[in-house]
């Protein structure tokens, strides 16, 4: 097991290096606004632009820039400075991570709390009214664009602009001073982010449960005289839930990497997703690089965790 982990970690590091290289190349190959010109302003003379280019090392050969960056990251944990604000990239990312993390954790808990019971009951009571209703509703939530859902939620329930003012609205995260207040500001975002995902997970779990319930060992469990409840919860769910774990790991990794951008945008949550859009618009390469790298790191880590977790969940996997 230990050797397995070590091997995976090394692969993870290699992957991070490759990801960094790809971002570098993309930035130079694809048309992006010249950061030096953006910095210099609209009336700047060419010499000034050139000097800024030198200051930002934009004219160094790409492999030199790449090597300097790698050295900085792996030996000093230094991700450079934002072109625009000159603040260290690392500081900005760490400052924004808690908001994204809070959003993700809350949404995950909420969507699991909804999806798991719904998925199980829908599978057990297949073709019942409840099953059909939840499956149709889930389709609706999956199809609804997140941004639209967010706006609808605001106009319905936000305490400032909503028809039924109950939940804190846009921008309330930044003004919240206590942890509890921050959680309050996250209620609507959690619900919106969880809505579509819960729908997907419920369908997935339902399908997985239906497959599992057809397995022979379920028949054996019943033949042993176990109460139906125990058959479902201990035998069926235990087996059906393992693919969900993989999905969850991937989703968490992606969300922490900035995939919650739409939710963060509509609710004005100063998280990592919002920052990456800003950085792309301003051609702030160190910021983009930093966020992508962090994102890749999260995805790698969560994939690793999921794989290890899988080995705990499914004994057959351990002996490979």
């Amino acid at each position: 097991m230990a050797r397995y982990i070590v091997r995976r970690v090394l692969w993870g590091v290699a992957l991070l290096v490759i990801v960094t290289a790809v971002v570098f190349i993309l930035f130079y190959v694809l048309p992006t606004a010249d950061p030096a010109k953006l910095r210099a302003g609209r009336t700047a003379n060419p010499q000034l632009v050139q000097q800024i280019r030198e200051q930002l090392h934009l004219d160094d050969p790409i492999y030199v820039q790449f090597w300097n960056y790698l050295k900085g990251v792996f030996f000093h944990f230094d991700f450079g400075e934002s072109y625009l604000s000159q603040a260290p990239v690392k500081d900005i990312i760490f400052h924004r991570l808690p908001a994204t993390a809070l959003l993700v954790v809350g949404a995950v808990i909420l969507w699991l709390a909804i999806a798991i019971p719904v998925g199980i009951i829908s599978a057990v009571r297949r073709r019942s009214l409840m099953d059909r209703t939840t499956m149709v509703t889930s389709l609706a939530f999956i199809s609804a664009p997140v941004f639209w859902l967010g706006l609808v939620a605001l106009y319905l329930f936000a305490s400032d602009v909503g028809v039924i003012p109950i939940f804190p609205g846009q921008g309330s995260y930044t003004t919240a001073d206590s942890f509890l207040a921050k959680c309050g500001s996250m209620l609507l975002p959690w619900m919106v982010l969880a809505a579509a995902t819960a729908a997907i997970y419920a369908r997935y779990l339902r399908s997985s449960m239906i497959d599992t319930l057809a397995e022979d060992y379920i028949r054996t469990a019943r033949a042993k005289g176990l109460p139906e409840r125990q058959v479902i919860m201990k035998h069926a769910v235990r087996a059906a839930i393992t693919p969900i774990v993989t999905l969850l790991g991937l989703d968490i990794g992606l969300l922490l990497a900035g995939n919650a951008i739409l939710t963060e945008s509509v609710f004005v949550i100063p998280g990592v997703g919002q920052e990456i859009v800003l950085s792309i618009r301003r051609s702030d390469l160190p910021m983009i690089q930093g966020i992508v790298l962090f994102g890749a790191f999260f995805i790698v880590i969560f994939n690793l965790i999921v794989d290890i977790l899988y080995a705990f969940l499914d004994p057959r996997v351990r002996y490979q």
Partner: protein, 625 residues
């Protein structure tokens, strides 16, 4: 000889009187303002006009919140070059001269004790400053001196600060060229500008080699003249780029919270470094009261206790509603969406006074590349302008309140506007006479250009256009594309991201397409010089960062531009620039389509005051009811 205010007031009064006369005669051939009580000179209905003074019973206290979509550009006052940043800067940085909310032509003395002295030959400007302005913590024991202002200007030449306008407007200052060269050589130490002298702590003298004093005085009204103590800032300026923005010291009634003060502006840490803690880029900026500020030394009243900028509001509709329905909030850098504007304008749920419309001092036009066929032929250009339905183009921004149709270069409230024709095009330019388009006239011009059918024929008609990929810029471009195609052009339109459009296409002459539909210009200060000096001046064409998008290089016009900036008498100046305006429009280099208005909304309980200079809320004069 002192510049006499009266000499300025007289023509100003005359201009305004003229405008009122025009209104009362009901002459509004170009008045699309719709609604009653419009004033001729801005086209803005009365109910939306900006309050430029605080109410007599303005209350002290409270927390004002400004909602922004994006961020300021730089916290460093030497680098800031953005109207929204100035909104912040006017509240936290005092400069040599600044702008009171209702000052529309001449700046207001701020650190200066009064009007500057201009020598007879116009080549020496002398300012005297107050001796009783102290810096905010951590430098609360230090008084502002003119040496600090001199250093502020000198450091702006460093590539690590990269000020966008100093070298342009102060080019006439003695020793400027040498200073610029020195900054290129030694990028970590601010150069000395020999032409700026500080004989004592309260006197600063600008020696010019020419008579470009008006430009110099204008530039000094911008945050570049906010004082920066050299011994404090040196170490930050030695870094590349400069990190002074993280440690800036403040002189205004408010300061951005740093590690020296708490939320109420009380000093909490004696050994603080001055590191700014109240600025989270892209997220929030927190302003608190400056404990060193003395109300007696300032024209600003400073009513509210704290001001918070909240950033990241990507959806203008929901953000505007949040403000309109909520309390103590105003919009910052985004206009409300057209639907919200319509809703407020129609009355009903919201009081129309919750929306304020002000000319922004900016304009938008569509540039035609005069260096390449087919637009190298002036008749073709005139045809395109005559054909354009410019009202339709303006409406892509959201409607009448978003600005009157542009008819010449100088925008409303800038000196020379009325002389140039006011809201109407200059006399005698028939291709600008109709703002909804005159196809017959257009056909005539095409015929003059050699296209017998009155429409474009042949391979010259394949033209390229690069514009914004997001609304409303994209909408403007597509509407214009239709209009061009009516004239027989075949347009290849490439939408790209906004900053990409500028830095990789429209600002590089060798890459520039035939049409750049989403360009324009905004004032630097209330003087018409900026609108010609770069956007229409031949020698200003530069190969990698060009802002003369039509690539206009007419020798006569170039000479006229060079001479105009040397005129110092305000009356003469207005008249000279009005003529320059007509001369520029005669060359039909661009399709002018809107003089932008700034539209903002406020919560019910905010007694908002607009600063006419940038059309945005003046934080030092606004109060909570």
């Amino acid at each position: 000889m002192r510049l006499r205010w009266l000499r300025l007031l007289a023509p100003l009064a005359a201009v305004l009187a003229f405008a009122f006369v025009l209104t009362s005669c009901g002459d509004s051939s170009d008045d699309e303002s719709g609604g009653t009580g419009a004033t001729g000179s801005t086209g803005i209905p009365e109910e939306f006009q900006a309050p430029t003074a605080a109410p007599d019973d303005a209350k002290s206290g409270g927390d004002l919140v400004v909602l922004n979509e994006g961020d300021i550009d730089y916290m460093d006052p030497g680098a800031a070059y953005y109207q929204v940043t100035y909104m912040l800067d006017f509240a936290v940085f005092r400069s040599l001269v600044s702008w009171a909310p209702d000052a529309d032509t001449d700046p207001t003395p701020d650190l200066a004790t009064g009007e500057p002295e201009l020598s007879d030959d116009g080549k020496t400007i002398t300012y005297t400053i107050r001796d009783d302005v102290k810096y905010a913590p951590p430098l609360q024991d230090r008084t502002v001196t003119t040496a600090d202002i001199k250093y502020a200007i000198e450091r702006s030449l460093l590539p690590g600060v990269a000020n966008g306008y100093t070298s342009t407007y102060l080019s006439g200052v003695t020793g400027m060229d040498e200073a610029i060269k020195a900054a290129e050589k030694n990028t970590t130490e601010a150069p000395d500008i020999s032409g700026i002298e500080t004989p004592d702590d309260t006197t600063i003298v600008f020696n010019l080699d020419d008579t470009s004093a008006a430009g110099v005085m204008g530039a000094l009204s911008l945050p570049v003249s906010a004082p920066v103590p050299e011994d404090y800032a040196k170490k930050y300026d030695a870094e590349e780029p400069s990190s002074y923005g993280e440690y800036a010291v403040f002189t205004g009634p408010y300061m951005v919270q740093n590690d020296c003060v708490d939320e109420s502006g009380k000093v909490t840490d004696e050994n603080c470094s001055g590191k700014i803690t109240g600025y989270q880029p892209g997220e929030e900026i927190k302003l608190v009261r400056n404990p060193s500020w003395d109300a007696d030394t300032d024209f600003r009243p400073a009513y509210v206790d704290t001001i918070t900028f909240q950033e990241g509001f990507a959806d203008p509709t929901s953000a505007s509603k949040k403000i309109l329905d909520g309390s103590s909030q105003v919009t910052g850098d985004f206009p409300p969406s057209p639907t919200v504007v319509k809703e407020v304008a129609s009355g009903g749920k919201y009081d129309p006074s919750q929306m304020v419309v002000t000319p922004s001092g900016g304009e938008r036009y569509i540039s035609l590349n005069t260096q390449e066929p087919p637009f190298d032929d002036i008749n073709v250009r005139k045809a395109v302008i005559a054909n354009s339905d410019r009202v339709a183009l303006r409406n892509t921004r959201g409607g009448e309140l978003f600005g009157p149709v542009m008819n010449h270069v100088i925008p409303p409230l800038i000196a020379g506007f009325e002389e140039a024709g006011g809201l109407n095009p200059p006399e005698g330019l028939d291709f600008l006479a109709s703002d909804t388009g005159d196809p017959d006239l257009a056909a005539e011009y095409m015929k003059k250009a050699g296209f017998k059918s009155g429409k474009c024929e042949g391979s010259e008609c394949n033209i390229t256009m690069v514009g914004d990929d997001a609304p409303p810029g994209r909408d403007t471009a597509t509407v214009f594309q239709d209009q061009l195609e009516q004239l027989g052009f075949k347009v290849q339109f490439q939408p790209v991201e906004h900053s990409l459009m500028y830095t990789k296409f429209c600002s590089i002459p060798s890459q520039e397409p035939d049409v750049c539909p989403n360009v324009g210009w905004i004032k630097d200060f209330n003087d018409p010089q900026a609108f010609f000096d770069i956007p229409f001046y031949g020698p200003a064409i530069n190969p990698s960062n060009n802002s003369n998008w039509p690539q206009l290089d007419d020798p006569k016009l170039n000479k006229a531009i060079e001479q105009a900036k040397l005129v110092t008498d305000p009356n003469e100046r207005a008249q000279t620039y009005a003529e320059l305006d007509k001369q520029t429009m005669e060359l039909a280099p661009v399709v002018p389509w809107v003089w932008d208005n700034d539209i903002l909304v406020r919560s019910d309980d905010v007694a908002q005051v607009t600063n006419l200079f940038n059309g945005l809320t003046d934080l030092s004069f606004t109060s909570i009811k």
